[in-house]
């Protein structure tokens, strides 16, 4: 019987046997239907991707104000758009390594200051032009020159000079940085013809799909670009990104079969949705974290004893259970977790302890006046509930928290990075260096905890220049401890990406970098 089954699976792999035939024959051999179904799926997967079909995404995070200009991307739908029509020089692979895209290889000098990207030859843009190193240079200039308003401006700061040299693109840094390839994998840095200097929102790139319909806030339609440099990427005839900001409508669309995949499944319905027979709810541990942030330089938060008191007064597991419904992991008052390369898992977890909270609170000598915590549900989903839970446990430790609700509208400009104590969200970065330099370096624009410790900055620079991974890991561990014990960050939880995908799609892989397989579903998946 085994031999016969092996023969049959081989036939499936070769495409000679349909599902119906396979199931029938397997039943004749006495195999149960469930077993046969699994065997067929395995065999079909081994057969590799099947081309064709129209993929439809139903996504939260699109507005009628969106543009296709990669410099403006700040939410889920534009992010997904860029991944359809564009390519970066390199991409972060699901395992955290660097995967070549428009650059065939990357090489750094021994001091990690000069980085050379060898560009792929014969890559065609959707307008028929061939990509040159000039295009790459212009693109990078557009994201980093003084007129730039790019979302990637912050990460381009350390660049001293760039040059296009035949097939190569070279970056020289002011300070050594061993992680530069990760910075170039940023989703804003899509290579455009002439750098997109003329018309950045034209949506012309080198990606596997080209723009067909662009209706911001409604839908974006893409069709297969036949001349893509990698024929393995992009198995669908067309990809449609439909904007569905309402969570209930999104779930209904997936259940009703109008779309094949949705993002941001609400944790409270995820279990229920997962029971539907024709779809799967994927939960991927990511680097995004829900936080409460205190300004270390503003009273009363300039007192580390008070900061420690608040850090001990929050019940992390309870928040993960109630706010994330288990779709997440507890945080440790550091902005990094095990999803990052070079993370030190041996750092002890901060536990919820009313005694310690009360003890630190007493030491702080706080006058007992209410401590104002500003929140809005726009900070992160469930922020108001999380703050209420925090308030209760803090009260048990004798710490008076007062919650002040703020409007969602204008939260990021009026409250976040302005008020001394508020709720916030961080999307995470591919490497620890980037996370720390974005928000914990003394001079960082987004240092939203006002954490300014020269010793910490020195360690950050030392880690950048260090090419020995063991030593780097050691430095990062010390930095993590420092933020955990002295910083203004209360990090109760890391949220998972929770996504619903129809079972007609094959080829899913968990990718911690960004949601929806880091935007690579349309490249890597296929209809079974």
């Amino acid at each position: 019987m085994n031999e016969q089954l092996t023969h049959m699976t081989k036939q499936v792999t070769a495409g000679k046997l349909t599902r119906r035939e396979f199931m029938g024959k397997a039943a004749a051999l006495g195999v149960t239907a469930a077993m046969a179904s699994t065997m067929f799926a395995d065999a079909a997967r081994a057969a590799g991707p099947i081309k064709g079909g129209d993929l439809k995404f139903g996504l939260q995070g699109g507005e009628s104000t969106n543009s296709l200009d990669p410099a403006t991307y700040a939410s889920s739908v534009p992010f997904q758009n860029g991944k359809q029509f564009g390519d970066q020089l390199v991409e972060v692979a699901p395992d955290g390594s660097i995967e070549p895209r428009l650059a065939e290889s990357v090489e750094g000098s021994a001091d990690a200051k000069v980085w050379t990207f060898k560009l792929r030859q014969g890559v065609e843009f959707h307008n028929g032009k061939t990509m040159t190193s000039e295009d790459v240079l212009k693109t990078m200039e557009r994201h980093s020159n003084e007129d730039s308003k790019s979302g990637a401006l912050g990460i381009m700061k350390g660049i001293e000079s760039m040059k296009a040299d035949g097939d190569n693109f070279q970056v020289t840094l002011t300070e050594p940085n061993a992680d530069l390839p990760y910075l170039m994998a940023d989703y804003h840095l899509i290579i455009q013809p002439d750098g997109g200097m003329e018309n950045p929102g034209a949506g012309i790139g080198t990606g596997p799909y080209k723009v067909e319909v662009d209706e911001p806030g409604v839908r974006h339609l893409y069709t297969k670009f036949e001349n893509h440099w990698n024929p393995d990427f992009g198995n669908f005839d067309s990809v449609e990104v439909i904007v569905i900001n309402d969570a209930t409508a999104r779930t209904a669309a997936l259940q009703g079969g109008q779309v094949h995949a949705i993002n941001r499944v609400e944790p409270k319905v995820a279990d229920l949705l997962g029971r539907a027979p024709n779809l799967t709810v994927h939960s991927t541990a990511g680097r995004g974290h829900y936080v409460f942030i205190m300004h270390c330089d503003t009273a009363p938060f300039d007192n580390n004893e008070l900061r420690l008191a608040l850090k001990h007064a929050i019940d992390r597991q309870d928040l993960v259970d109630k706010v994330l419904r288990g779709y997440g992991t507890v945080g440790n008052d550091m902005p990094v977790n095990a999803a990052y390369p070079l993370f030190d898992g041996s750092i002890p977890q901060r536990e919820f302890s009313l005694e310690k909270a009360a003890e630190h609170y007493k030491k702080s000598g706080h006058d007992g006046s209410p401590i104002i915590l500003r929140v809005a549900d726009g900070a992160f989903p469930g922020a108001v509930d999380a703050a209420a839970l925090f308030q209760q446990t803090a009260a048990q430790a004798g710490i008076p928290l007062e919650i002040k609700r703020e409007p969602n509208d204008g939260y990021w400009s009026e409250v976040w990075n302005v008020q001394p104590f508020c709720a916030s969200y961080w999307g995470g970065r591919p490497v620890q260096d980037q996370m720390y330099s974005t928000a914990y370096l003394s001079s960082a624009d987004w240092n939203d905890t006002r954490f300014k410790v020269p010793e910490f900055d020195e360690m950050l620079f030392a880690a950048r220049a260090e090419l020995d991974n063991d030593k780097r890991k050691d430095i990062y561990s010390k930095m993590g401890m420092m933020v955990r014990d002295q910083g203004g960050l209360i990090c109760p939880m890391f949220n998972d990406f929770v996504e619903g995908v129809t079972n007609q799609l094959e080829g899913w892989e968990n990718d911690p970098t960004q949601e929806m397989m880091n935007g690579n579903m349309s490249r890597k998946m296929w209809f079974s």
């Binding site: 700040a74 730039s148 569905i244 209930t248 400009s413 987004w446």
Partner: protein, 318 residues
């Protein structure tokens, strides 16, 4: 000049004055909101450098009055300008959105207005008996339930469980007329349920009011059937308040349906406006605001004029 032409032209002039006032008010209010377009676009990713560059590019550094009068100069010449955030032509983007909104409002009106008036007449005919009570109870219940809830309930039972209509009311140019109608079926039902009670109750009240008068009694005494009395004598005299409430509801169908649009992912004006208010995209907000104001003013003007024409006392003032 004929008094009616004079009346209409007076009303029109007043309407334009109101529109101008509305645009100034909208501009002032959007300016008063915290933050500006540059900050809203960059959001959490704003650095002082990027902010300054974006403000310069969007022309937000110039004084507010200059920007307002530039916009006003444009709109007088029929130029709505460009969106600050995505650089698309506003007239073009609004064109299709407004078309969609009017399409939905039109079909909702086609279903709801005759239905409401018919139910109103029926309620008068069987006043204080079970049909009257049933109609009132049902319509008052549906107007009391929030429209998104009716929407979700319909989506769950009709679309997901029964599979009758699509849960998403997505429409685009490549769809045929029947596909579009099928696609908007659920939102049309929701909107009908929401506006029905108001119009039905007003019809009922207005006609009952007239039914008390002496000439209706005369009509009854000369032997006309109950329905004929309502239809020939009561309804024409009750038409003014009915038109008024119908126009108010039509205006609601055009400008007030943002929640229904969100629930059904319908690409109409409401969602478009909300997105741009969030992003402080002043030119678009102004354009939408003026269009909405024009629709409101226009429909109310029609209601006024019809009321005057229908009433001899107002038609021939002393």
């Amino acid at each position: 000049m004929h008094p009616i032409i004079k009346l209409v032209s007076q009303r029109l002039a007043l309407g334009f004055l109101l529109l101008f006032g509305a645009s100034a008010l909208i501009f002032g209010l959007t300016e008063a909101l915290p933050g500006d377009a540059a900050q809203a676009v960059l959001g959490q990713a704003a650095t002082p450098e990027a902010l300054a560059n974006l403000r310069e590019e969007m022309g937000l550094n110039r004084p507010a009055l200059t920007r307002y009068f530039e916009w006003l100069g444009g709109i007088v010449q029929g130029d709505l300008g460009q969106s600050l955030t995505n650089k698309l032509d506003i007239a073009e983007s609004i064109g299709s959105r407004l078309g969609n909104t009017l399409f939905l409002a039109f079909w909702a009106a086609v279903v709801s207005v005759p239905l409401a008036i018919f139910l109103g007449l029926l309620a008068v005919r069987y006043r204080n008996r079970w049909p009257d009570k049933l109609i009132s109870a049902v319509t008052l219940t549906t107007i009391s339930i929030p429209e998104f809830l009716i929407g979700y309930v319909l989506v769950y039972f009709v679309a997901v469980k029964l599979g009758l209509f699509s849960p998403l009311a997505m429409i685009n140019d490549s769809m045929s007329f029947w596909q579009k109608l099928n696609s908007i079926a659920l939102p049309v039902i929701v909107l009908t349920l929401v506006v029905l009670a108001h119009m039905m109750r007003m019809t009922r009240a207005a006609i009952l009011n007239v039914m008390q008068s002496a000439y209706v009694e005369t009509a009854e005494l000369k032997g006309l059937s109950n329905f004929q009395v309502i239809y020939r004598h009561a309804f024409p005299n009750a038409v003014a308040p009915i038109v008024n409430v119908v126009m108010l509801n039509l205006a609601y169908l055009v400008v007030g349906v943002v929640v229904v649009e969100v629930v059904f992912v319908y690409p109409g004006m409401g969602q478009y406006l909300v997105d741009h208010v969030t992003k402080r995209d002043v030119p678009v907000v102004l354009a939408c605001g003026v269009i909405f104001a024009a629709i409101y003013i226009g429909l109310n003007m029609i209601a006024d004029i019809v009321a005057i024409l229908a009433n001899p006392r107002l038609r021939h003032p002393k």
